[in-house]
């Protein structure tokens, strides 16, 4: 199968050596599509990175390999509880001056920083597990994932993005096609999960699809 850039050029009715589009524009659009898919369907990939805690320090930047933090594991591999400042305040009005210890709670301070509680009393090495960065499209020779549904979704979203200013109806069609592909991508991910897969088998008597599932396949057979 072709690379993401090649597929996008086809959607734009362009040759690979584009004449109308600056080469960077399709690549930027593909990257925008990757971010959108990451936000809506984070996928199953996980990456872990070390987080070195220092005594007395409560703020820590996200490691560069983690895009969206999910779990913070302590040195024993046990998960820290995600919480909020409001919950900490509910627990104790003096939480900020609590005795230092082994952090067991974590707050998302901002999009680049985590806050642990209580403040570490010594150096610890924790592990942050999260969603990894999708491979940034920097060249025309890259594919997305295994060139399957995910690549199709991103290419269609990118095409919609680029066409919306000059071909709004076509862009809307690309958007709809991308949304449909996204649903199929989500369904495929669920099938890979091995959880309740029987009920998402399309077209059978007891399947969710027949009962009027997300793509309405069952309705066609009634």
């Amino acid at each position: 199968m072709a690379t993401a850039y090649t597929l996008l050029m086809r959607e734009l009715d362009e040759t690979v050596a584009a004449t109308y589009w600056n080469e960077n524009q399709p690549l930027h659009a593909l990257n925008e599509g990757l971010v959108e898919v990451a936000a809506r369907v984070p996928g199953r990939e996980r990456v872990s990175a070390s987080l070195s805690l220092v005594a007395g320090q409560e703020f820590y930047n996200l490691p560069s390999t983690v895009m969206v933090p999910q779990h913070l594991l302590n040195a024993d591999g046990k998960e820290c509880f995600p919480t909020t400042h409001a919950n900490l305040e509910d627990w104790s009005a003096g939480w900020r001056s609590a005795a230092q210890g082994k952090p067991a709670w974590v707050v998302a301070w901002d999009v680049e920083t985590l806050r642990v509680f209580p403040k570490p009393d010594a150096s610890y090495t924790y592990t942050l597990v999260g969603v990894p960065w999708p491979a940034e499209q920097l060249t025309t020779a890259q594919s997305i994932g295994d060139e399957g549904l995910l690549q199709t979704v991103v290419v269609l979203f990118a095409a919609a993005r680029l066409l919306q200013y000059t071909q709004p109806e076509l862009a809307q069609m690309k958007r709809l096609q991308g949304e449909e592909a996204l649903v199929r991508y989500q369904r495929n991910l669920r099938k890979q999960g091995g959880w309740n897969t029987l009920r998402i088998r399309p077209g059978t008597g007891w399947s969710l699809a027949r009962a009027g599932g997300d793509l309405g396949l069952g309705r066609r057979y009634q």
Binding site: N22, N24, Q25, H28, N31, E32, V35, E36, A38, A39, R40, V41, P42, G43, R44, S64, T65, M67, V68, P69, Q70, H71, L72, E79, P82, H85, E89, A93, G94, R96, S97, V106, V107, A108, W109, D110, V111, E112, T113, L114, V131, W133, E136, R161, Q164, Y165, P168, Y185, Q186, R187, L189, R190, G193, W195, N196, R199, I200, L208, G213, D214
Partner: protein
């Protein structure tokens, strides 16, 4: 690995590409200053809507001093959030309540003369750029403030402290402002399309931000959770 962190110059280049002013970077259509202003505006909007970037500041406050000038705390405060008071003679640090002067007046008409000897419990805004502690601190202490940052680019080449997945979002806003300004580039229908892209990007930002540290690890990130929800609650419950 993380995407390459961007600078203001990156954003200006992206804007020029979007406006069709490439490969030249001679700003034929829109001036460098104008694009820079729109990029500043966008980051204000990003912070107002999504509050991506936070900061902390501390200020030593003397006994008997109740008025705090915001610029003495920090010069990049967009919105003050949590404020904590730490009396000098104590290790305790506790949250101050945000109130309006009207609230204090309703609770106690002579609030300006009461509470002598007590540590501050309330912080309220006197106006733009000034805050007041109540009661007036009887002893010296430290005010700790956590706030939403109003980001300004120090120069064109410093890495911007926003996540690099938000790199492309300023471009539609710049184009929206350029095409909606009176002048030879004015194109209101095109500006409207860019405006929709701006709203779309803000929605993506909210979704990404909401994915951080899910409280329920069991199924929030499992794709197709609406499908799972219908299986568990056929009558149409919500997670």
């Amino acid at each position: 690995m993380a995407w390459t962190q961007y600078q203001q110059s990156t954003l200006k280049y992206l804007a020029l590409v979007e406006l069709g002013d490439w490969p030249n970077t001679s700003y034929r259509f829109v001036s460098d200053n104008e694009i820079g202003e729109y990029i500043d505006e966008w980051h204000d909007i990003l912070q107002q809507e999504l509050e991506f970037l936070w900061g902390t500041a501390s200020l030593a406050v003397g006994a008997g001093t109740s008025t705090i000038t915001e610029t003495a705390l920090a010069t990049d405060i967009m919105r003050v959030d949590r404020c904590y008071w730490n009396p000098a003679s104590s290790t305790a640090t506790y949250l101050l309540s945000h109130r309006d002067p009207e609230d204090l007046f309703l609770s106690q008409q002579n609030y300006t003369t009461t509470g002598t000897g007590e540590q501050p419990k309330v912080i309220y805004a006197l106006g733009t750029g000034s805050w007041c502690l109540w009661p007036t601190p009887p002893t010296a202490g430290t005010l700790h403030v956590e706030y939403v940052v109003r980001y300004r680019f120090p120069n064109q080449s410093t890495d911007v402290p926003f996540p690099s997945w938000s790199r492309y979002w300023s471009t539609p806003y710049v184009a929206y402002r350029v095409y909606s300004r009176f002048g030879p580039l004015q194109d209101l229908p095109r500006a409207a399309v860019y405006r929709r892209q701006v709203d779309h990007n803000l929605e993506i930002g909210r979704k990404l931000r909401d994915l951080y540290l899910p409280a329920s690890q069991a199924g929030v990130l499992r794709p197709g959770r609406s499908l799972a929800n219908r299986i568990l609650y056929p009558q149409g419950g919500n997670l």
